[in-house]
């Protein structure tokens, strides 16, 4: 591949990437107790219909599309309505059927209950 081809190919790839909708990764807290993993994310400006969450091959991804608000002429902006997208690796042993998510006041909470095999267990020590 000649150098010219390499560079123009890279141009074309980057041009495509730029046309994709830009997305940002929202701030997230991750907690754990003996029954579940809890993921809490700040996603202001998103309603339940716009949020999708899926778990595939051990990766939890949530993403949401946002529309531009049409509130008239924009005078000053400190944030743009970028889409949200973030992916996490989740350990095996999450009961995928029992995953529950709630979205309230712009905060997404995803409860990932542990399957029985992953829950901590007391192990009895046998004495002599």
């Amino acid at each position: 591949m000649s150098r010219e081809n390499m560079i123009s190919k890279r141009d074309a790839e980057l041009a495509e990437a730029v046309q994709q909708r830009p997305a940002i990764a929202p701030a997230v807290d991750v907690y754990e107790n003996k029954d579940e993993l809890l993921v809490v994310a700040d996603v202001p400006g998103v309603s339940r219909e716009q949020m999708t969450i899926h778990l595939e091959k051990g990766k939890l991804t949530f993403e949401a599309r946002r529309e531009e608000s049409k509130d008239g002429g924009l005078l000053a902006a400190e944030y743009r309505p970028y889409d949200y997208r973030r992916t996490f690796l989740v350990p095996q042993g999450i009961d995928a059927d029992k995953i529950v998510a709630e979205l309230d006041h712009g905060v997404l909470k995803v409860h990932l209950p542990k399957a029985a095999a992953l829950k901590p267990r007391q192990i009895q020590i046998r004495g002599e």
């Binding site: 890279r10 990764a25 807290d29 107790n33």
Partner: protein
Amino acid sequence: MLTRWSDLDRTFTVMDELRRRMDRVFDEYGGYARPGFEEETRASAAWPKLNLFDTGAALVVTAEVPGLSEKDVQLTINQEVVTVSGERKPDAPAGYSVHRQERAALQFSRSFTLPTKIDAEKSTATMKNGVLTITMAKAPEAQPKQIAVRAQ
């Protein structure tokens, strides 16, 4: 080995453009995905992020305030200065260990001056999905006016 300058230049330009766009995204989202030590310096001075719109008849301010409800936010309008303040309480659930913490609890107070006179009596504020929207009708003297053009 000879390298044509124009080829290299083109590559750098394209890389530069990408970096600039990434910088813009990072700048706007200030403290995203940064670990704990940045949290104290993370702008309680610049939280929440605000947008300002002019709809012709009113000025609209939107602020991203995830996790807050109406009673967590105080809004004061003093002539052209608007102050949004409140507190975001920590919401870590009891009995859980923490793997990652990026969302900060903080107290905030932001003031800004509006570009035109508004009528504080005719202002409303609503919260939805963690976004605060303040709609302030412009004072009558600040409303846009149509001026008829007449032939001389």
